[in-house]
Structure formats: C-alpha cells, structure tokens
Symmetry: C2
Subunit: 162 residues, 2 copies
C-alpha cells in the first residue's frame, strides 16, 4: 500500500471510528481513560462538509478488532459518502440527524436510534438542517487501521433528497 | 457444548453485551432500529446483584463480531465477577459507578469515562452506592454468542474494597 493511501486510511479511521489500530501495549489489566483525557479533533474538510468534531473513544487492539469514536455534527454538517469493509454501527446519543444510502431516500435519525450499516454499503450520516447530532460510531477492521473507504462529498441535493 | 451451557452463555451475551449472535438476515442495506423498538430486560439475579436493566442495542452479524448493549445499574447494583474471551469496552454514559479487577482496588467510573478490559481479565462493574450508572458495553465473540464467562457474585466487602 502506498504511503499516501495509508495516511488517508489512517485519517479515515481516526475521523469516523476512533483511533487507527494501536496495539494494547502489553498492559494486562483494565485501562480506564477519563473523559477529560479523550482527544477531540476537527473532522477534516476532505471527508466532511460543515463543522464536525470527533472524539476518539477506544482503539482496536491485538484482540478486539472494533474501534469507537464519538462524532458531533453541527446543523447541516455531514460526512462524505463512504463504505466500510466490515460494517459500522451508529448509536445516536443526542439531537436529530440524517442518513442516506445510495439509491434510497434520506432518513431522519434521532437520539436513541441504532443504525447498522453492512459491509460495502455506500452511505453518509450527519446532522439535520436545524439540529446538531451526536453519534457513537463502532467499526471493525480486518487490516490494521482500515475501517472506511472515503468517497465523494454529499451534495446539497443529495442531503435534501426525500 | 451442552444445551444448558449454551443457554447460560446466550443469556450472558444478552445480559452484558446485547443480543446473542444473530445473522443479519439477508438485508443488504442499512437497518435503523428506533429507540422505542429496542428491547429492555431485567438483568437476571444469577449474573447481577441489585436492580439492573439491559437494553439490547445491536447483535453480532455475519461480518461484524462485536455486539452492544446498554446497561443501567441502580445504586449499589453490580454484575458478578466475569471474564470476556475477546475483551470488552465500557462507555459510561450517565452517573457514577465502580469497577473492580481481581486483586486490585475498586475504581470509581463516571459519565464520559471509557474502560477497556482485555481478554481473560476477571472484573466486575456496577453503580456507586449513592448513584445510578449507565454504560454502553461492547464485546466481541469468536464463537456465536460466546462473549462472557460468568463467575461468582461480588460480595459487599469486595464492592467496598478501597
């Protein structure tokens, strides 16, 4: 894999699902990370439209292949179109948002909803036009750090498609 | 595996991590489960002390091997001691709780904290004596439905160990 592609994939993992794959580091016991010590970054313009903040929750490790992140989209903000090699689960924790799947109408999602996106399904997710939305995102990887393939931006027409 | 053991393991998966393994059922697109349609059950006395409610969030499927559940412990309530064959992640979403690891002091956990428990580590988790606590639990399986091995109850002395 080229270096540039690897960096893009690692950024993708960071942006939507948490850390790229990091070995647990030989710590044999429970690890507690306090909320104040979790790292939060801006979702990059190359993968998102609008104001997006991503908090890394937990990495994949040498046993668990899932990783998790918390993503907050301000009103109108959304991810690019993308697919996941294994799949993704979204747990909406706050607000109202939207999700789109290629060739299907946009759906509203609300706090408490659970969205399961199978492997290879082209989709996007983000906030509603008039509400912020926060979700926890859980992805799994089969190669270290490879949890998402980023595609084109979601146009305003696609975002508003009924 | 004996039928009784299988039922116990399946109940264990249900209680701490969500559904036991259920195939995605051939639906090739995104599946949205509304919050009102999520099933909530009491945590059984055989695996928990005190009042515990478990909401099934998402199952493992034919690609993703993680499953997730939301667990609310009323003050003083806690799980039994247990281990996980692959590991577990707890995302504390509300309140104040406690977690214990065999041979180590009990630790307080609070909303926003993330706890990663490696495979095979004997631990428990629950509410504080004077506060309810809710966490999301994510486990992974290597055999269908096998995400936890339940052990003995956490005594009052162990619950209060400093």
């Amino acid at each position: 894999m080229g270096k540039k592609l690897f960096i893009l994939l690692a950024m993708g993992a960071l942006a939507l699902c948490g850390y790229p794959a990091i070995a647990a580091g030989g710590d044999s016991g429970q690890k507690i990370t306090r909320s104040g010590d979790l790292a939060t970054v801006n979702g990059p313009d190359s993968y998102f439209t609008g104001e997006v903040r991503v908090t890394q929750l937990y990495p994949a490790n040498n046993k668990m292949r899932s990783s998790g992140g918390k993503v907050t989209f301000q009103p109108g903000a959304r991810s690019n179109w993308h697919t996941h090699p294994v799949g993704q689960v979204l747990l909406v924790t706050e607000g109202v948002g939207r999700t789109g799947e290629w060739g299907k109408p946009v759906q509203e999602i609300r706090a408490g909803d659970v969205i399961v996106c199978p492997a290879g399904v082209k989709h996007w997710h983000g906030a509603a036009p008039d509400s912020a939305m926060t979700h926890i995102s859980i992805c799994e990887e089969t190669e270290p750090g490879k949890v998402v393939e980023w595609l084109e931006k979601v146009s305003d027409d696609q975002y508003n498609q009924q």
